[in-house]
């Protein structure tokens, strides 16, 4: 796993099978980028994922700006598409989990989260970009932290200190002797593991998806020599299949992320029972 962060492409272009060249397998180095500006040591730098993150947010804002800046009662095509997406998250996710009355306040956050994450994921298959921003843990983590801060503070606000503690620990008298154990587990599960898994679920899916795509893409190129060409064809078909699969996973993971967010908010608002 010798990484050369200076390389711009994901692999060496002149390396083929039977050329005495080993398979340049994708690895952690595939997720490291040389800074475009600045110095990696100084922690003040600007690299490809940051560029994609900012570009992605501009695209999301641009799309909704074009669709919703001057919305019409009788919608145009673009507005119709944007409305469908908005309505899907609002009705299908927020109203379904939190309820219409309590959930209305969180609709902007959930809609923003969904489309932001989806766009970050979509970079994975956009030509030239071809890197899911969310496969860098920082991006899912910052979103998971925002959600974490929101639902924890909501719990305190709604239930007070003791109520919030009961909420976090799943306090239930009927458990009897098991209660201390259950409370300990619940406490760790809710307050420590939950934000971690929330972020890592998205990160790991995108990380694995990108690795798979890289694997088959590199293999398609690497095998392009002699009898290997036949295998390269198979590998290339896998690239197409995996791209389609990734397209699905990208939307699904964005959906799962916001669904969990809603479920955390709902749990924070729910009466303790």
């Amino acid at each position: 796993m010798s990484a050369d962060p200076t390389q711009v492409l994901a692999f060496e272009t002149d390396c083929h099978i039977f050329d005495g060249c080993g398979f340049p397998a994708p690895g952690l180095h595939s997720f490291l980028f040389e800074p475009l500006v600045g110095d990696a040591d100084s922690n003040v730098y600007f690299n490809k994922t940051m560029l994609l993150a900012l570009l992605g947010s501009i695209i999301v804002v641009g799309f909704f700006w074009a669709a919703f800046r001057k919305p019409k009662v009788v919608p145009g095509k673009l507005q119709m598409v944007a409305e469908t997406g908005y309505d899907f998250i609002r009705r299908g996710v927020v109203y379904e989990t939190i309820g219409k009355k309590e959930g209305e306040k969180y609709v902007p956050l959930i809609v923003s989260l969904f489309f932001f994450i989806w766009m970050m994921n979509l970079w994975s298959i956009v030509p030239l970009a071809q890197f899911p921003v969310t496969s860098i843990i920082s991006y899912p983590l910052v979103l998971a932290l925002i959600v974490y801060v929101l639902w924890v503070s909501l719990t305190f606000k709604r239930h007070g200190f003791v109520g919030a503690f009961k909420n976090f620990t799943g306090y239930d008298k009927s458990l009897g002797a098991v209660l201390p154990l259950s409370m300990t587990i619940e406490f760790f599960s809710n307050l420590l593991v939950r934000p971690f898994t929330h972020a890592v679920r998205l990160f790991a899916n995108m990380f694995a998806g990108h690795t798979l795509l890289l694997l088959f893409t590199i293999a398609s190129w690497y095998l392009l020599n002699g009898i290997g060409i036949a295998y390269a064809g198979v590998s290339f078909i896998m690239v197409i299949v995996m791209t389609a699969f990734e397209l699905f996973i990208q939307a699904l993971q964005a959906y799962v992320f916001v669904l969990l967010t809603c479920s955390f908010i709902q749990g924070a608002l729910a009466e303790h029972h």
Partner: protein, 181 residues
């Protein structure tokens, strides 16, 4: 340079250790999206969705109002039609009654006129009879006087003469009657 980067890369190789600059940029990128959507774009579309909902409900309300109005107008027409029918029936009935009344009235009038005429005829006849009777009485008196004068002028014992006088008288009478006719 390359050496340094490699070292830095190896430090960052645990993919679960978040690089701080990316964390900051991620936050900024998300805040951009959230800011625009929450402050401007979603309130925009919500307003329009509300307007649309109202427009649709307004349309439904309008249609309902139109239907109610149509219903009321129809009922009004039906009522008017029924009234008109009723009126026509009433008029017919009235005309019939009036006709019947007219006929009875005319009949009564005819009866009355007939009776009047009859009565007039009767009274005329009576008057004529009275006039005739009075004229007759005068004539008879005169005739009787004439006859008596003549009788006095002749012998009352002479039966033959007597009967001749009477015969003459009666002949005269007859003649007069002939003449007067």
């Amino acid at each position: 340079m390359s050496q340094l980067l490699t070292v830095a890369a190896e430090e960052m190789e645990n993919p679960l250790v978040p690089p701080i600059p990316e964390l900051v940029i991620g936050l900024i990128a998300f805040v951009i999206v959230f800011g625009f959507l929450a402050k401007k774009l979603l309130p925009n579309i919500n307003k329009v969705l509300e307007q649309r909902r109202e427009a649709i409900e307004g349309g439904i309300e309008k249609a309902e109002a139109a239907q109610t109005e149509a219903q009321s107008v129809l009922e009004q027409y039906k009522a008017q039609l029924a009234e008109a029918r009723h009126e026509a029936a009433r008029l017919r009935q009235e005309a019939q009654e009036q006709g019947a009344a007219l006929i009875t009235e005319m009949r009564a009038e005819g009866q009355r006129q007939r009776e009047e005429i009859i009565a007039a005829g009767h009274s005329q006849i009576e008057a004529d009879r009275k006039a005739a009777a009075s004229a007759l009485r005068q004539d008879v008196g005169k005739l009787a006087t004439d006859l008596a004068g003549k009788l006095v002028g002749e012998s009352l014992d002479d039966h033959a003469r007597q009967s001749r006088v009477i015969d003459r008288f009666l002949d005269d009478l007859e003649e007069k009657a002939e003449a007067s006719r």
